[in-house]
């Protein structure tokens, strides 16, 4: 972003990569797949790179409002300085925080989740896909809480799966009733409280009931939790956990 800005250029959209997308080995693949799609569609985009910092979501959900607001105002300062208007992110937590909680602190942007952004690219004909290697595959989609219930985005990811000509099978709790993967509310960063089983195992069991070939997710944290769940069930050879962006990017000859 700094380079574009210095050259006096303004990108169409800022891609907010997020901590998982920047540092987590699995999530980095999602980042790369999405970037591939952006390039394919000739979208001029920028990333903040080393100027990006945690949105503050896990701090806020853990109860540290102070740290959250410190992070928020810092990020807002950076983005406002660059005159950012539109942001796309592959992380529902970043999406929710920037979209809903930044405006109150002076950060007003149009924020979309990458599934919404990709859907628009298809609608505008900037990327096309016919058939592809997922044709007829059984795919079940796990709703990330911060995309679904938190922001009522249920259809964009599903529309994209349908574009793959795949068979979309719903789990017994989906959409508004979608079961959490267990990572939200800063749970990702701590051990779970004592119970009968872990939330991601419960959710993986629901996913396995649909006998999927692929479990699709739209959140790097859900991806981790579901991947762990599938490994726990020793199904990692048969079932892949993939982000929607990865599905689209690897479907055709992109």
């Amino acid at each position: 972003m700094a380079e574009l800005f210095a050259a006096g250029q303004k990108p169409e959209v800022l891609f907010w990569v997020g901590c998982a997308g920047s540092f987590d080995d699995r999530a980095k693949k999602i980042t790369k797949a999405f970037v591939q799609l952006l390039n394919r569609a000739n979208v001029s985009f920028a990333v903040l790179g080393t100027e990006e910092s945690c949105t503050g979501d896990p701090a806020k959900r853990a109860g540290n409002e102070f740290l959250f607001q410190m992070q928020a105002v810092t990020n807002i300062e950076v983005m406002n300085a660059y005159g950012i208007n539109k942001i796309v992110t592959a992380c529902p937590h970043c999406f929710n925080t920037i979209k809903n909680e930044y405006p109150g602190l002076g950060g007003h942007y149009e924020v979309v989740h990458h599934t919404q952004f990709l859907k628009k690219l298809f609608e505008d004909g900037r990327i096309t896909l016919e058939g592809g290697k997922f044709k007829g595959k059984r795919i079940t989609y796990h709703d990330p809480c911060y995309l679904g219930r938190a922001n009522n985005v249920y259809e964009a990811p599903r529309d994209l799966i349908r574009k793959l000509d795949a068979e979309l099978i719903e789990m017994k709790s989906c959409k508004e009733k979608g079961l959490c993967c267990g990572a939200g509310g800063a749970q990702m960063f701590k051990e779970p409280e004592k119970g009968d089983k872990d939330v991601n195992i419960e959710r993986t069991e629901q996913a396995l009931e649909t006998q999927p070939e692929i479990i699709a997710a739209g959140c790097p944290f859900c991806n981790t939790m579901m991947t762990d769940g599938v490994k726990n069930k020793e199904k990692e050879g048969a079932i892949a956990v993939m982000d929607i962006a990865e599905l689209i990017a690897s479907a055709g000859d992109l």
Partner: protein
């Protein structure tokens, strides 16, 4: 002596309503112990929500069986109240079936009351079976033992008895009408209670009048008693569901409130011209407490939420933490908040209007830290509530207290927050490495 029943009725009525007014006053005083919040925005949307969610029961039918049965009881409750108006007027004026001159309309009304009363009996019976025979899981959670369980059943018994009394009153009336008893002019339609005829077989007019009058009196006294039972029970939702859905959250569920008190601090920290050594102004208010450890730290809407909860347990049933055997139950969060609020209210009553520290608080005294930290903030409980209660907001406020007032977060979370502070990421990675993915293959 002729007016004795009228006088007696007016006394009973005034006592019933007066006692209820006293309860409402106490209720509103307790709710106002909460912090003020501005809910004057989007009035149009608020009315719409109330109409849809409370009046229209849209979220009840998400679970079709319970939803359908509930609609029967709900419609029965509302419609049969028209009959209660007639009963009250009859009682005051000493008339019998005052609205009878409306003719066909009256017949249809009475007829539909009877059908509804019958359906309510069926619904209430099924509800009782679900609680006690089928033992639906969500009614058997640890927080549902003792009084909450009794309360649930008691409400069903009262409703059953009221409906039976209503039908008995009508059934006897119908017999008296057939026999041409004085004052019992033919009016109304009795599609249900006419089948009660065998019970009244061979009874004289005077004993029928005794049955009819007894049922009439017990029915109205029962209603007044039930009205006053509300405050002591989970059943307040029949009134509070309306304001509660009106004041419910309007912004996206994922949007958690930004604490203004913190914003003020952060702004001060970011202000290069702020004097770090400035002494607080003489008249400066006491710094705001961050988060909530007791009911007084919550907002009045959250307290209203707690009184509105009717312990249906849909929230707990959908909660991922609860489903996987953790201690957290969103319903218990609401019940605990209400029980503590009641305790605080009683404390104020006992101490001439002043709250005297009782060494207890909502945190630890009612809600444990283990429960609070088990929440994934997934909003399933908020989504599930048929009357717009937000247990998550209370959990979040209490976490804020733990972290910002007590520095009592679990170690793992402290590490995560330390990372964010130092490296701008929840993991110990250097911010300078953020773009490394772009250089990798």
């Amino acid at each position: 002596m002729e007016y004795l029943p009228n006088i007696l009725f007016v006394i009973v009525l005034i006592a019933g309503i007066g006692f209820f007014a006293r309860n409402v006053k106490r209720l509103s005083r307790n709710i106002k112990l909460g912090k003020d919040v501005d809910v004057s925005d989007n009035i149009g949307q608020r009315w719409k929500n109330m109409a849809k969610i409370a009046l229209g029961q849209t979220k009840m039918v998400v679970r079709p069986i319970a939803g359908f049965l509930h609609i029967i009881v709900y419609v029965g409750f509302i419609i049969i109240n028209i009959e209660v108006i007639e009963i009250i007027l009859d009682g005051i004026l000493g008339t019998h079936r005052l609205f009878a001159p409306f003719g066909t309309v009256y017949d249809i009304l009475i007829g539909s009351f009877e059908v509804l009363a019958f359906l309510v009996i069926v619904a209430v019976t099924v509800f009782w079976i679900r609680r006690n025979i089928i033992r639906v899981k969500r009614f058997l959670k640890p927080e549902m033992t003792g009084w909450p369980k009794q309360d649930g059943n008691l409400i069903l018994y009262i409703e059953l008895v009221l409906m039976v009394l209503f039908l008995t009153m009508n059934g006897a009336d119908y017999q008296l009408q057939q026999m041409g008893a004085a004052h019992y002019t033919e009016a109304g339609m009795f599609p249900v209670s006419q089948f009660m005829a065998p019970f009244f077989d061979g009874m004289s007019i005077s004993s029928l009048i005794l049955v009819e009058r007894t049922a009439w009196w017990l029915h109205i006294i029962g209603i007044l008693c039930f009205l006053n039972y509300l405050y002591y029970s989970k059943h307040l939702h029949i009134l509070l569901a309306f304001p509660n859905t009106f004041y419910g959250k309007l912004v996206p569920k994922g949007q958690f409130q930004n604490l203004d008190a913190v914003t003020a601090e952060v702004k001060l920290m970011m202000d290069p011209s702020a004097d770090p050594f400035a002494a607080p102004a003489e008249d400066a208010a006491e710094p705001a407490k961050f988060g909530a450890s007791d009911v007084m730290d919550l907002s009045w809407v959250q307290l209203l939420n707690s009184y509105t909860c009717t312990e249906c347990g849909r929230c707990t049933d959908e909660c991922p933490a609860n489903q996987t055997g953790k201690k957290l139950s969103p319903r218990k969060i609401m019940m605990d908040t209400r029980d503590r609020l009641e305790e605080v209210g009683k404390n104020i009553d006992a101490n001439k209007g002043q709250f005297v520290d009782d060494g207890k608080q909502l945190l630890d005294g009612y809600i444990t830290r283990e429960e609070l930290w088990a929440c994934t903030t997934c909003n399933a409980c908020v989504q599930a509530c048929p009357v717009s209660i937000d247990p998550l907001s209370i959990i979040m406020d209490m976490r804020q207290y733990l972290v910002m007032e007590q520095s009592a977060a679990p170690t793992d979370l402290n590490n995560m927050m330390g990372n964010i502070e130092n490296n701008g990421a929840p993991w110990p990675f250097n911010q300078m490495d953020r773009l490394n993915w772009a250089k990798e293959e």
